[in-house]
Symmetry: D2
Subunit: 335 residues, 4 copies
C-alpha cells in the first residue's frame, strides 16, 4: 500500500482545525499536501503561523487552489463552506471533506446532504455510525466536536432502541473549541481557573445528534437535555450522559463493547476515565456505570482530533480504501 499517494488541498489552513490537519497530514504515509490555501496568510510559511511545525515543513500558504488534487479539506468557518463551494468549482472526481457544520443536516430523509449551487451530496462522517456509507462517499460532512462525543455515548443504546426516556447530558470543552478568534471568554486572565455554562439546552450540535439517534432509533421523541461548559483547559471534551436503562451493568458493557468491537478508535474502559487519556489522540474512550435505574455513560475525545481534524483524516482513509488508522497512530500527550 505504500505506493498510494493522495494529493490533498486544504482551504482555511491558518485556523485551528487547519493547523491540526496539517500536523497530521505532514506525517501521513499516503498523503502529499498539494496546497494550503489561506486568504490572510498567502505567501507566509506555514511554520510562521503554526509555529510548532518549525523544522517539520517548509510549505507556504497559497493564494491559489488547484484541480490537481484527490481530496479537498474545507477548514473554514460555519457558513463559509457553502459560500466557498458556490464560488469555486472543483471537478466531480475530487472528494470533499468539510469540517464546518454546513452540510451535516439532512435536507430530506436519509443521510443525503446537498451543497447549494452544486450537485454534491454529503454523507455524515461519523464512522461508528455509518462506516460503509463513508467508504463509498464522494463528499463527507465531518461531525461537530460535542456531537461526536455525545453520539459515541448514545448510539449503542439507540441502535437497540433503548433510548426511551429523556437523556441528561453535561459536557465540558477545552478552549480550542472556540478557535483562534480572540474573545473575552478565551482571555487567559478570565478563563484560567474558571468555569462557565453557555448555550444551555440550545447548543447547535443537538440537531446533528438528534438526526443520528433517529437514524438508528426511528421513533425517538424524548428530550436530550444538554448543558455545555467552558473548561479551563485547551484540548478535550468530557461528556456525561444518563438515562433510564432496564438492563444490568453487564448488559450495558456488552452492548457497548459489541457496538465498538470493529472500530479502531473507540474503546470501552472498564476503569473510570479522565480527559487526558485521549488528548492528542484520535481516540474516544467510553465508560459505563449503572446507578439505580439509570445508566451513566462517560465519553472523552480530543476536540481537535476525533472531534475535528483527526476524524476528517479517518474519513479520508475510509474514502480512499486506506487503513482506517493510517497516519492516526498518534502519541498521546499523557500529561
Amino acid at each position: 500500500m505504500s505506493q498510494i499517494s493522495i494529493k490533498a488541498g486544504i482551504i482555511g489552513g491558518a485556523g485551528y482545525t487547519g493547523g491540526e490537519l496539517l500536523r497530521i497530514l505532514i506525517n501521513h504515509p499516503h498523503v502529499e499536501i498539494a496546497f494550503v490555501h489561506s486568504n490572510s496568510n498567502a505567501g507566509n510559511l506555514i511554520s510562521d503561523v503554526h509555529s510548532d511545525l518549525l523544522g517539520d515543513t517548509d510549505l507556504k500558504f497559497a493564494a491559489e487552489t488547484s484541480q490537481d488534487i484527490d481530496v479537498l479539506f474545507l477548514c473554514v468557518g460555519h457558513g463559509d463552506a457553502k459560500k466557498f463551494l458556490s464560488a469555486n468549482h472543483f471537478d466531480a472526481k475530487i472528494k470533499i471533506i468539510d469540517l464546518s457544520q454546513d452540510f451535516r443536516l439532512n435536507k430530506a430523509d436519509g443521510h443525503i446532504l446537498s451543497a447549494e449551487g452544486s450537485n454534491r451530496t454529503f454523507t455524515y462522517g461519523l464512522p461508528e455510525l455509518q462506516r460503509e456509507e463513508i467508504r463509498s462517499a464522494s463528499n463527507v460532512a465531518n461531525p461537530g466536536c460535542f456531537a461526536t462525543c455525545i453520539q459515541l455515548a448514545l448510539l449503542p443504546l439507540a441502535a437497540k432502541g433503548l433510548l426511551n426516556e429523556e437523556v441528561h447530558i453535561s459536557a465540558t470543552t477545552g478552549s480550542t473549541g472556540a478557535g483562534q478568534s480572540l474573545s473575552s471568554t478565551s482571555h487567559f486572565s478570565w478563563r484560567n481557573n474558571n468555569l462557565s455554562v453557555y448555550k444551555a439546552f440550545g447548543h447547535q450540535h443537538l440537531k446533528e445528534i438528534t438526526q443520528s439517534v433517529k437514524q438508528l432509533q426511528n421513533g425517538f421523541s424524548k428530550e436530550i437535555n444538554f448543558i455545555p461548559y467552558r473548561g479551563d483547559f485547551a484540548r478535550g471534551i468530557m461528556v456525561s450522559a444518563y438515562t433510564e436503562f432496564e438492563g444490568t451493568q453487564e448488559d450495558a458493557e456488552k452492548l457497548y463493547t459489541d457496538f465498538y468491537a470493529s472500530h479502531p478508535f473507540t474503546h470501552v474502559s472498564a476503569n473510570n476515565i479522565d480527559l487526558k487519556q485521549v488528548v492528542n489522540t484520535n481516540k474516544c474512550l467510553v465508560h459505563i456505570e449503572k446507578h439505580g435505574s439509570k445508566l451513566m455513560v462517560l465519553s472523552i475525545i480530543d476536540n481537535l482530533l476525533k472531534g475535528a481534524s483527526g476524524q476528517a483524516v479517518q474519513n479520508m482513509n475510509l474514502m480512499f480504501g486506506l487503513d482506517e488508522n493510517a497516519g492516526l497512530k498518534l502519541k498521546p500527550v499523557g500529561f
Copy 2:
C-alpha cells in the same frame, strides 16, 4: 459593637479548612484567637504551615486546649469530630462549630443532632435555610461544600413545594475540596488540564441536601441525580441543576430574589455567571434560566469559604449576635 471580643479555639488548625479559618479570623474585628490546636504541628509557627500568613501573625500551634474560650471550631476530618468530643470535655457554655460531616444528619425528626458521649445537640448551619435557629444555637454543624452550593440552587423551589420531578445536577469542584492529603487525583501532573467524574449518583452530600429539601417540602420523594466532577482549578464549585418548572422566567427570578432578599451573601445574577466571581469571597451567586419546560439554576461558591470556613464564621456571627458579615467582607480575587 467594637468592644465585643470573642475568644476562639481551633482544633485541627493545620489543614485546609483550619488555615482558611485562620485567614479570616486574624482580621475579624471581634475575635481573639485563644489557641490553634494541632497534633502534628504543636510548637510550630502557624506561618510555617500556612506560609501565606507570614507577616500577618506570630501565633504558634498548641498541643493544649483551654476552657477559656467562647467558641470552638472543629476543623478535623470526617469522623474525628465525634471522637474528639467524646475524648475531650468542653464547658456547656462554649459554643461549638463543627466543619466535619459528623453532626449534619438528623438522628430523628427535626433538625436536632447529637454528639455521642455528650448532651450537645447540633443545628444544621445553613443560614439561608434557618438563620433564626442558628442565632439561638449552641452547636452548629457546618454544611458540606457541594451541599451548600446545591441547596442554594434548590431551596427556593422547595420552599414553595415546587420540586415535583427529578432533579438533575452536575457540579465541578476545585482541588482544595480534597484537602491537603497527597493523592494520585491531586497530583499536579495528572490533574492539570484534566477532568474526571467521581462518586456519580452516590456522593455523601446527597443526604444533607435531601434532608434540607424535605425540611422545606415535606413530601419530596423524587430522585436528585448528582454527577460530581473534579475540576482543574484550586478553589470553587459550580453547580448546574434543572427540573420541571411550570412558571415563567420572571416567576422564577422573583421566587429566588424574594427568597434571598434578606441574606447578605447570596445574590441572584441576571447575567450569566462564572466561577471566579465568587473565589475568595463568602458569596453565592445564583443564575436562573427557563428552557422549555425546565428551569436551570446555576450556583457558585468558594468551597473553602461559603462551602466551609467562611460559612463557619457566618454562623459564629449569627450565634453571637454580630453583624452577619463581620470579618467576611473579603476582597474577591477577581482573577
Copy 3:
C-alpha cells in the same frame, strides 16, 4: 480615627487596576467613593463590568467627574494620564495618585516629576524607598509592578552601597499584568501551560529601577540584566536577582531584615518562598540565599496589589495620615 472619610474619585475604573482599586476601596474604612469615571461604561453598573462585585456595590460608572473629592486615582493607560491632566483641571488641594508610568521618571535631579500643563510635581510612590516623602506628597506616581518587585529585592543592597557588580534578574509575571486587552499572547489556548520571554534586556521598568537604585547608591553604574517571562497564571510576579556579595548569609539577612523592619507589607522569609504566598495581598516576601560569592534574592508580589492598586491605597493611607495598612489587611487566596 473612624470619623475620617476621604472622598475618592477614580478615572479609568473599567480596567484591571481600576477594578482592583474598587475591590479595595469599597471595604476601606475611611474612603467614600465619589465617582468612578469611565468613557466606555458610563451609566453601567460597576458590577456589570467587575462582575465579582455583584452584591457588594450598587455604584455605576459616571461620565462626569467632580471637584468635591480629596484624592483622584488615575487608572488609565500609559500616556493617558498626562493627556487627562492636561485636558482636565483639578483643584490643587486634590491629591493625585497616578497608576500609569507617566510621572515615574525624574525630569531633573531629586524625585520631583512634572505633569505637563500643570504645576503638579509627583513623588515616586514606593513606601519602602521614601515613606516620609510620600507622607507629605500631594501627587504620587505609583511604581510599576516589575519595578516594585525588583526594587524590593535590590534596595537594601543599594542603601549600603553594595551593588558593585552586574545584577542578573529573571522574573515572571501573571497575565493580568497585560491588562484586559485581548491579544494573541493572552489567548487562553496559547498561554495555558505555556511560557515565553519578552522585552529581554529592554523592559521599560528598568528606568525606574535604575533611578531608585541611584537614589540610594549614587555611583551605581553596572548593568541590570533583566529577562521578563510571561507565566501561565493570572496574578503575581516572582523575581530572582543575584549579584556579587562579600558578606555572609547572616550579614545579608540582617541587612534585609533591618531595612524592612518598620515596613508593614515587606517581610524577609527564612524559608524558601512560592508565588501564591502573596496572591491577593499587598505583601512582598523576600528570601535570601548566599551561594558561592553571590547573593540571590527572591521576591514575590501580587502584581495588581503591591504592584499596582494595593500600593496606590498604601500611598493614599500615607498621604492622608492613616494607618499604612488601613483597608489592606486582605485575606490571602492561599490556593
Copy 4:
C-alpha cells in the same frame, strides 16, 4: 529498511520515563517490545497504569526479564541503574540505554563511563554533541532534561571557544520532571498558578553540562549560574542563557545554524519562541538575541521527550543504524 526489527526490553516501565518510552515504541516501525519489567506492577496491563494507552496495546508488565533482546532501556531512579546492572547480568551484545544519571559523568578523561560490577562503558548520549560516538556505542547514558536544554543553548558557543565569561541561566520545568511520586510541591492545590525556585546554583545537572562544555572548550573555567524554577505546567523546559559575546546577531545566528544544520531535531528559530512549540515532540528550538554586549539564547524542549525518552529512542536509532528520526515524527500537541 522495513525488515529491521529490534527487540527491546524496558526496566522500570511503570514510571513517567518508562511510560513515555512505551508511547513511542509501540508505534516505532522497527521495534518489537520484548518485555516491560516492573516490580510493582508485574502482571498488570500496561494500559492500567498508563491509561492513555488503552486500545493501543495489550501488553502486560512482567516480573521476569529475558536475554533475547537487542537493547535494554533502564527507566529506573537515580542510583538504581547501577544497582540493577550489578545484580543482573545481560549479554555483552545487548546494548543498554540508561535514562538515569548513574553513568553520565566521566570517571576519567574522555567520555568513557563505567558500570560498577561490569565491563560496560557508557557514552554520553547527546547526539548534537557526539553523534558519531553514539553510533558506535554499546551503552549510552541518556542526558538529563535540564542538561539537554541548557547544553543545546551553549554548545555552539563552546565549540568555537566563545564561552569566556560567566554564564547566567534561568530555566523553568514542568511538573513531570519530578516524576510520579506524590509530594507537597507536586500537589495540585499548591502548584496550580504557582511558581518557585529550587536548588539554585546547585542543581545536579550542572556537572554534566560543565563536562560537555569542557569537552568542546577545554579551558572553560567560568561559573555557570543556574536558577531552576518549578513551573505550573506539566511538560516542557524553557531555558534562557546569556553571556558576553563579541560578535553580531548575524554572527551568532550563523554559528548556531551551522552547528545544528545536520541535526534533525534541533532548529534555530528566527522568531521568538514559546514553550508549547515543542511539547509532545522530540525537538529543541533555539532562539538568539544579541543585547548590548551579551548574547541571550532561549531553548525549549519537552522534558519527557528530548529531555528523556525521546532522546533515548533517538540514541537507539543511531546505535542501530536507523534513520535518526524513526518513530519520532510526533504530532506536536500545539495547544
